[in-house]
Symmetry: D2
Subunit: 337 residues, 4 copies
Amino acid sequence: MLVVMNAHAEQDQIDAVVERIRELGLVPHPIPGSTRTAIGITGNRGPENRDTLVMLPGVEDVIVVTAPYKLVSREVHPESTIIPVADTEIGGGFTIIGGPCSVENEEMIIGTARFLIERGVKLLRGGAYKPRTSPYSFQGLGEEGLKYLAKAREETGIGIVTEVMDVESAARIEDVADVLQVGTRNMQNYPLLRRLSKANKPILLKRGMAATVDEWLMAAEYILSGGNYQVILCERGVRTFADHTRNTLDLSIIPVVKHLSHLPVIVDPSHGTGKAEYVPAMSMAALAAGAHGLLVEVHPEPERAMSDGMQSLDFDTFTKMQQSLKPVAAALGVEIR
Amino acid sequence: MLVVMNAHAEQDQIDAVVERIRELGLVPHPIPGSTRTAIGITGNRGPENRDTLVMLPGVEDVIVVTAPYKLVSREVHPESTIIPVADTEIGGGFTIIGGPCSVENEEMIIGTARFLIERGVKLLRGGAYKPRTSPYSFQGLGEEGLKYLAKAREETGIGIVTEVMDVESAARIEDVADVLQVGTRNMQNYPLLRRLSKANKPILLKRGMAATVDEWLMAAEYILSGGNYQVILCERGVRTFADHTRNTLDLSIIPVVKHLSHLPVIVDPSHGTGKAEYVPAMSMAALAAGAHGLLVEVHPEPERAMSDGMQSLDFDTFTKMQQSLKPVAAALGVEIR
Amino acid sequence: MLVVMNAHAEQDQIDAVVERIRELGLVPHPIPGSTRTAIGITGNRGPENRDTLVMLPGVEDVIVVTAPYKLVSREVHPESTIIPVADTEIGGGFTIIGGPCSVENEEMIIGTARFLIERGVKLLRGGAYKPRTSPYSFQGLGEEGLKYLAKAREETGIGIVTEVMDVESAARIEDVADVLQVGTRNMQNYPLLRRLSKANKPILLKRGMAATVDEWLMAAEYILSGGNYQVILCERGVRTFADHTRNTLDLSIIPVVKHLSHLPVIVDPSHGTGKAEYVPAMSMAALAAGAHGLLVEVHPEPERAMSDGMQSLDFDTFTKMQQSLKPVAAALGVEIR
Amino acid sequence: MLVVMNAHAEQDQIDAVVERIRELGLVPHPIPGSTRTAIGITGNRGPENRDTLVMLPGVEDVIVVTAPYKLVSREVHPESTIIPVADTEIGGGFTIIGGPCSVENEEMIIGTARFLIERGVKLLRGGAYKPRTSPYSFQGLGEEGLKYLAKAREETGIGIVTEVMDVESAARIEDVADVLQVGTRNMQNYPLLRRLSKANKPILLKRGMAATVDEWLMAAEYILSGGNYQVILCERGVRTFADHTRNTLDLSIIPVVKHLSHLPVIVDPSHGTGKAEYVPAMSMAALAAGAHGLLVEVHPEPERAMSDGMQSLDFDTFTKMQQSLKPVAAALGVEIR
């Protein structure tokens, strides 16, 4: 940390700050300047003491220098993490996870699983429990949905990615799913993150709608710090003033996350754009930006979907998109899984 | 809803849309224009069918006209709601809720309660369970904290406002608290909202960091639709590019919420600004904007606080602020409680 | 500035940074920590050297400590600036500037001036040159509009506030106006700011739609640094995801600007909300937040206005609002002008 | 447009709205619904009348259906525009424009031009007039800079892209430049746009920091409506809460612009990220997203640059990036120019 004194701070104010830093068990390093004094601090282990110092008389600001996360950090763990899931892995290559927003019935989820596995896609997404903005909207099939997902895996061998919304249903979902998904609205649901830190399945952690990279990595840190090192990050667009897409897909976070952390990071172009028409371009861009995969909505009949139809690809469009990703991946030297 | 066809849409595309609207059990009203056709729709009860229609060939956009909330709406329930709590009420006047971010120990919470009740403040805030960005930060005293809150009420008669973070601890908190607070990170934690819709205590629902007014009111609708009509809304600042405050306090939502809904709405100037220095000005502004009260952080020794010290008022500053609110409230014809 | 080395930086990288700092004529102060080294820098006069240093091997980040503005800073100039204009002044009290978005014809602008001056309002706003999003919208009356403004002053003695959009028309507007207004879209139009730094009239500088407080104060610095010390800042709402108002009025910037700068700061609740219905609440809040005045749209017949009618107050509503501001101002000990 | 009446609107309010619509010369189409009435309107040519209607008693909202731009619209002009510049063209393929932020001296600009032309890059960017946040920062060499740019073209045959900041210097810059660049801060500088609508050179129009797609296209409409049909759009990142990059590069606007407009759209990954390290990934993503080119900062010695060094590529990095773009472009069937 660095304490910046204001220009008119008096010597005894500076001395009091130095004293307080020592009281906190830290080491002060005063740096007198021509217009103001700054005081470097070493020995601290987090941003906890910032508030205390910033309130002292004569202090203009206290700047936190060190990133707050540890276990997720590439500084601490330089090698990239690769997470084996079902018949494939996430990290390293480019792994596609496809499927509908919600599990709507047995037939459609098994049909989608079959379609995907034939196309070489090893992971099926599909929500049994759905967070919906309106209490009057379809909320998912719940346990029945989980059964259909289990059946889809049984019949096709596809791996299952599905959302967990609360501690209560976590065990049931853990039994069925290969990857537990945490939605954007739950990125900072800490009781849920703590529970998942004890899960023995990988966690797909979506970025919060308005989360900074530090907050996102700190949410992952909750999971790692409890003992579950298998976290897959997923960018899905953030809230901005821009109104031409449902969310603003922030692809620039891909190289930043890869710089800061060893965890794999994938992209959800369906929520990122909100419109099927723009999904292929953004999927291609995600691949080119260095993402480790896609979480993409695919539905046998988007115009009949019970949720998110507008942003779901039909089978034909998915097939075409997958075809067009291949030569680009080859050019990039990346394997599509 | 209104379907807007694109300029080059052909007649058979228009016919197909009209047909589909009828299939959905709704009534189409085509409006042919000079550059394009629009089709008004009546009979719909929510935005559910939008996705289906927007994907039909020739459709440029589908515009949802009707607000998605019902029970919270002032159109449905014109009289303003006033919620009795402990020895006071929220709605109508200007009710101050004060106290520390976290319950840190018995002495400080009882001391704060005594101070507040002497100053005429009837409601004490204080977190026993704390959502913290870092897993390594102080997470609250948990059940022990609840005990201290109960004791503070017992000894002073003050009402208790405290945060509930999950379904699991809801019953325990319900036993102790007079108002259950839902934090900004949980505004769209639907399992939690559903649980609280069955609580017999009022819910203080903070606006999500990036929530639109519709999303906020829909979160309240979850609670009302389950049978709990006692919801207090709380603006606490939103995420924007602006970096001069911790969040951007959006006071303009106060008159908007009062126009759209019958529920009371208060303001948290502490999280809204993140700096004690700016809290009095924003508290004054909240009162003048028509808010029904304040949720404000007050701590006996902010510079020793275990969380949020930087934005907490000490007793002296709180007293001065309360004093300066009084004549303004009188000028506005509003009673401070 | 403070250079933060990354955790794995080697000693020779640290040495190279220290060396480069010296080359730049600055003084390095290395602060070795347990996980990483930081290097304080003194002697610098701006953020210019940041880029150079941040690119050196082993550097994680370079943090700029000192605010980039000087002349506008309260540290440099502790007394608050009060700017005399026409028959009144801005700064200190609470000065209302009222009038239509655009000058539409002689009759309406003189009628509005008469109404305002009778109500004790000493400054009339009204655009002769209008920045409009569409090239097909009414663009203002131009020179003819200026004539009507001049006539309004002649006949009523009211002071004139009007927008200047380019260097070309600046002299003509300077002849007529008492205050030259720079719109939100031109906050960083530097050739215009430089021209206005040579004007002998006060400048009303609106905050850019997405300007941070530093950028806003730096725009003012352009004007002061050229010799014109009469700058009035005006908050008018910023761009955020929120869709319940035209812009998000950021009242929390009022106490922040008053802390950082000696310049007066007023509020435009008309653009801030975009809806006349919400203007009185936000005007009241602006007063309570400590603003030095209002720039508010008033129109004899808002529903016939050629621009911004929706956010303009009619005479009755303005009168009522002004009446309701008075007791609040009195309670705050502030004089309304 | 569509007028939405509120649920309690009375019949005579509905009648009055219908009457007013007729007065405006438009055709009303009432659509009575179960909870409220809506009134479709045909015959309107822009959003002008919205304000008038929204203020009538009983009106809840007025929704504008038709996009406000015409000449830039793909509905009006279905074929994609390709703009010939110097020895190349923009639109269709993927055109790289490279060069330093500022022209710093003759040697560096000619050296950069030589380097680029050898690498097959046909367009050189470089600012002679620089908009800088601080009045104390380097503001560009002005006319001297223009001379060096002219010389660079003379000696190498490279085309020149340089920024125009005001009407005053437009003619001088028009003489030298092959493309006139309008910076993000001037996207809504309408006097400048009007002037450029009369220029006989293509205009590169950067998206404003907080501009919606409609506002951006309307700014282009200003230029087209004055007679200059050669506009190149350039996405350069927008202002959001995200702090991991200098701006948030909004690549999803690429397919949206291509859907809405016939104009070519390129990407500036240098300002978009603010860090050279992330430029190659975002350049690749821009190509994959379907952009028509790049505007990228290249400097012989970034660490000695007078501005924007931190986000400039050195020659080696640029060469590597260009090499890696080639196979991806080939895979996409796009020609790199």
